[in-house]
Symmetry: C2
Subunit: 691 residues, 2 copies
């Protein structure tokens, strides 16, 4: 769906329905904002009581307007919302901004009303933003239909929370950043995040797309739009809310959001190349870095400070963030020694040891040597720089010169230089920012920015796979045998097993398979809890004892007798998939068996995944060293595990009725991979389809 | 050592040696600062060239002073330092502040010179701060011998970095905090961190002790002093630098620091009840919370916001920080519903859904209900509060009233209320702070503060054990058998083992122990790497094959034949100890065997540890669920593992020649714990030898 959103962002005429003189009402602030654009477009204030608003005569009704309003902002109580939309469409509005709250977020009845309105909007060829949104801002067109002052700049901001957007705005302003557009999403009844991301990707003044989202709506479409924006050179930074039980409660109540599992969001971000952040501050810190700097082509960092403490703290933090501070080569250290005091530390971190205080230009010479050395992918200058002019005004010119020289060094090298200074509002900091060097107020911020640049330069987005159309009739039941059969047909090898209803059948099966055997009681979701699995049964007596205990304690619907797998020769993994209400099937691989919960070591991806991708995921687990044959063990057949993981993900992707499917454990040995258990959970109605 | 430091913090007279008119020199700023206290004490500026400095006649030499200087600040080049100290002592100085750099941090010769000077200072009964320090500040005595403006307040700051202290000062000022004393430590040649912490613990205006340290000097003394301060009700917040390879390089070069392992610092903090932070911002955020709020008696948190986005983000972050946002009980929700709009979310997070905008007093009523409910240990108010007066000046009086009511609610409940607002400099924010409610500029900061309060209220410091005097002659060698014997004597059970030099002895041993056996090649540090361990050898042929392969590939010095342990019935742990240059022996327990490196799941404590403490450590591992009998496995004998860990820690504590000692794996089963390997590394003087 690509619709023309010009009427939303740059209308020739705009009407504010519910305009007011009362500063306690949104209608007041919307009217004030709209009037700022009165030189560029017709602005009509509408209030059914008429009268004068902000010095203008208010119209009592849309039908009284002298001109068709291309955009109508509806800021009336929920009860009047539908009528207002219909009236707007009747006079030919092309775009609507629904401020009114109390529709879709208030329950099923409200959602039905919302859907019906959207039908009529779409039939009329118009678009609707919201309802339950706070407005829209476009710096280029001078459209200011939000209640707050928004600084101009290169960030296109799409948010499901007005107050969070406000905080992002304040933090951005601190760093000299601003917004090309701001869109408050509200309930996304018509316009969804995906369509707005697509629009911003094509919006020239927008150089970076920032999002706060609780509900991703068509999650795959969103991820595809984000991937396209990233590929077009516009980084996408996402603050996603609602990934925990408590926050999901809040999000549901806030915008009626159908929230996604954190794992699904993570999978979408990895697929699309989205930079994910956890707070408004992180969003702005990441955005500053991504807007100012080239990507870092690796994880090698040099830290520079004048004074040991700052370099020590930055080095500790960088190490914890997985960056590499390797000692510099002798030649580079030599060059640094030539420009720095004898007491300077040149190994990395580089401590100017008063060199900056003696001669502020030594910062730039040091950084130039480091960026040009070929030994590092980025440089972080941290601490005091920017403070010399604060300390003594007469030092200002030289410090500003040094800032220019630092910017020159960064520009020449094509590598990122990030600066953290306690004097983040100083003239030197402003000069650096003006020249495209990001300057952070704290070392956390600098590391966050660096993380974004390293991610951009070293990680290749996995892509956003489509979900195949259903090709098979839905599964009717989801027992153990159905799960095994389904996955076996898809290509997953399982331990040899026989069904048994009672002792005689179990003993016959054991005889056939060969002792020792495994006995499982069926009919429980987690068989291994509560005595549902007995392993190492060495003979008929052991089988009989285990079966009789299971029979009396668990009353199982049946049994499975299985061949003993060589557990000691391998590692137990978990491979599976879960359906997210917005992103559809998400594949997961992780440490399995006993260690699944203890390690909580899982990697995710949008399903279906290729075998190659599954292997990459497996090899990126924390437990990966175990797969590579830790301490004398032969390397395990990771490719076989990856084949199984890919097969499971294909099954989940092809069958929307599957809510969860899991093989845990999947035993991977040097000779292959074999499923030792399988579990399937079907959705209520065959599941909600994701696009 | 408890010395009188009055002459350092409140001297009756002070002399600045190296005073200068040149603002590029420290001597200039020190002189300016000293003169601020001229009404309270005599201030003498000394410069060997005499002349006029800052409008005063400078003395050419200390011996020219009309009065004995109780405190002398030595700001002369390194070459003149010793002579200056001697001259100071000659005229009767009781305290010296050594600004001069280039002594102890410059290498062995400098350290020797420093030591000699300290001897003379101590013989004279004086004290020396530094050298290589930036000075000292005491708000109460009007002593300002540091180069920067320092705001007054309740924080006693001790720092090994001047610039970091400066940043801490700026960040603290942002939040309305200030300093009772600031001490720049420098090289700690005489005065060490421990003595200053002890001093600050007894300094009435100091309510919280903040530290930046690279070198802990007498680490146990430091930890004991910190523990005493904490017990006296003065929280200790520590920013420790140098825990990684790169930062240790920087710290060594910066202050000649002998840096400690992160694990040792962690052990000391847990022992003493120190709140550890990673950045200057975290230090100030934690300090604000600890100064303003009572401790939180548990992890249950309610989040409140007017607007969903902020509550969603705070809930996600709180969950990640291990806080509990459980839904509120029906009665509490009822009470909230009565004071909030119908659309408000009352489950937790609580979203006022415009209730605050309609009536700003509803913030306080909501928070009062929550704090009084008995269902939560703390409340976090996040987002917009503080902004109403910014939005419309006429709302200011009501918002300030609301701030007072919020503070009243917190004070009445005795539970922490923390506020995050994007308007952190607003009048309402200032009013809250004035009433003892901490206000943070970002949600990260609020969570950091909350973490400090929860730590203080829920964690009992483990204590700082003394290290026993050596009672045995030092070990001469540290082979496998020595390690086993040493630990066995201390009470650790090991798998039955026999020495063997060749095949005949190995076969005889295997026969005696019973097949299957384990064969180990000795003489390697990590036996299980490179084929040094063969398990499950079922008969003589298997032993012969394994031994002949080891013989040809590893050329071992000998073999150990061992009884096979029931590995499948238990979990492999690691118990050990390491000697830190500053904190001495540190005990560690963790996941062992194959999973040791993959899980990196280790807990540490200052050694020796009691069996009870060792068990607490084991039960706090991430892998602890495995010990409690995960999924049908019987509970393991954790007490036996704890006995082994305590025994290892006692051995390490009693023998200073031991650098490292480790049992990995220690197999813990339902029936007990048994060591399956042992490793010992002696320090330089005891000789290193692989087991």
């Amino acid at each position: 769906m690509t619709r023309d959103l010009r009427a939303l962002f740059d209308p020739r005429s705009v009407a504010i329905l519910g305009a007011s003189n009362d500063p306690a009402k949104w209608g007041h602030w919307l009217a004030r904002g709209a009037l700022k654009g009165a030189e560029r477009r017709s602005v009509f204030l509408v209030n059914r009581n008429g009268g004068e608003i902000l010095g203008l005569t208010a119209y009592r009704s849309l039908s009284d307007l002298p001109e068709r309003p291309e955009l109508v902002v509806v800021s009336v109580p929920a009860a009047g919302f539908e009528a207002a939309v219909d009236a707007s469409l009747a006079v030919g509005a092309r775009a609507l901004v629904g401020i009114s709250a109390g529709l879709g977020e208030s329950g099923a009845a409200g959602r039905a009303r919302e859907r019906a309105v959207v039908e009529r909007v779409r039939s009329a060829g118009a678009v609707l933003l919201g309802p339950n949104c706070l407005g829209v801002f476009d710096a280029g067109s001078g459209l200011d239909l939000s209640s707050n002052e928004v600084p101009s700049g290169p960030i296109g901001l799409v948010s499901q929370s007005g107050n969070l957007a406000l905080e992002v705005g304040l933090l951005a302003e601190d760093l000299g950043l601003g917004f090309s557009r701001f869109v408050s999403l509200g309930n996304q009844a018509d316009l969804e995040a995906a369509e707005l991301v697509e629009e911003l990707a094509g919006h020239e003044p927008t150089r970076l797309i920032a999002l706060y989202l609780e509900d991703f709506r068509d999650g795959r479409a969103f991820a595809r739009a984000a991937q396209a924006a990233v590929e077009a050179g516009k980084p996408v930074v996402l603050l996603a809310g609602g990934g925990t039980e408590a926050s999901a409660r809040a999000a549901r109540s806030h915008t009626g959001a159908l929230v996604s599992d954190l794992a699904a969001v993570e999978a979408a971000c990895a697929g699309a190349g989205i930079e994910r952040v956890a707070t408004p501050k992180e969003l702005v810190d990441a955005a500053q870095a991504l807007l100012a700097s080239p990507a870092a082509r690796g994880r090698r960092l040099a830290v520079v400070a004048d004074g040991g403490g700052h370099s020590v703290i930055a080095a500790d933090l960088a190490d914890a963030a997985g960056l590499e501070l390797t000692p510099l080569a002798a030649g580079t250290r030599e060059r640094l020694a030539q420009i720095l005091p004898a007491t300077a530390a040149t190994a990395n971190p580089v401590d100017l040891a008063g060199g900056g205080e003696q001669d502020v230009s030594s910062f730039a010479r040091t950084v130039a040597v480091l960026l040009g050395s070929g030994e590092v992918d980025a440089v972080l200058l941290t601490g005091y720089f920017g403070g010399y002019a604060v300390y003594a005004e007469e030092l200002r010119p030289r410090e500003l010169e040094a800032a220019e020289a630092l910017a020159d060094a960064a520009a020449e090298s094509g590598r990122p230089l990030l600066v953290q200074t306690m004097y983040w509002q100083s003239p030197a900091a402003a000069a650096l920012r003006a020249r495209g060097v990001p300057v952070f107020r704290d070392v956390e911020g600098a590391l966050r920015g660096l993380g974004a640049l390293v991610g951009q330069g070293t990680e290749t987005p996995a892509g956003v796979p489509g979900v195949p159309d259903r090709s098979e009739p839905p599964l009717g039941s989801a027992g153990y045998w159905e799960a095994r059969d389904l996955l076996a047909v898809a290509g997953v090898p399982f331990a040899d097993a026989r069904r048994a209803q009672g002792l005689d059948e179990a003993l016959a099966a054991a005889e056939e398979l060969g002792y020792p055997v495994v006995l499982k009681a069926l009919g429980r979701l987690h068989k291994s809890e509560g005595g549902g699995v007995a392993v190492g049964l060495a003979g008929p007596a052991a089988v009989e004892a285990a079966l009789s205990q299971m029979a009396s304690e668990l009353k199982p619907s049946g049994y499975s007798v299985e061949r003993t797998a060589p557990v000691a020769e391998g590692v137990e993994l978990l491979v599976g998939a879960r359906r997210d209400p917005r992103f559809g099937p998400v594949a997961l691989v992780g440490a399995g068996g006993l260690y699944a919960e203890v390690l909580a070591d899982v990697r995710v991806a949008l399903a279906p995944v290729s075998e190659h991708h599954a292997e990459t995921l497996l090899r990126s687990l924390r437990a990966a060293p175990l797969l590579q044959g830790a301490r004398d063990r032969p390397p395990l057949d990771v490719a076989a595990a990856a084949r199984a993981a890919a097969a499971v993900s294909r099954v989940a992707a092809a069958r929307p009725e599957i809510d969860e499917v899991e093989i845990n454990p999947l035993l991977v040995t040097p000779e292959g991979a074999v499923g030792l258990d399988a579990r399937l959970v079907l959705g209520q109605e065959g599941g909600e389809d994701a696009g």
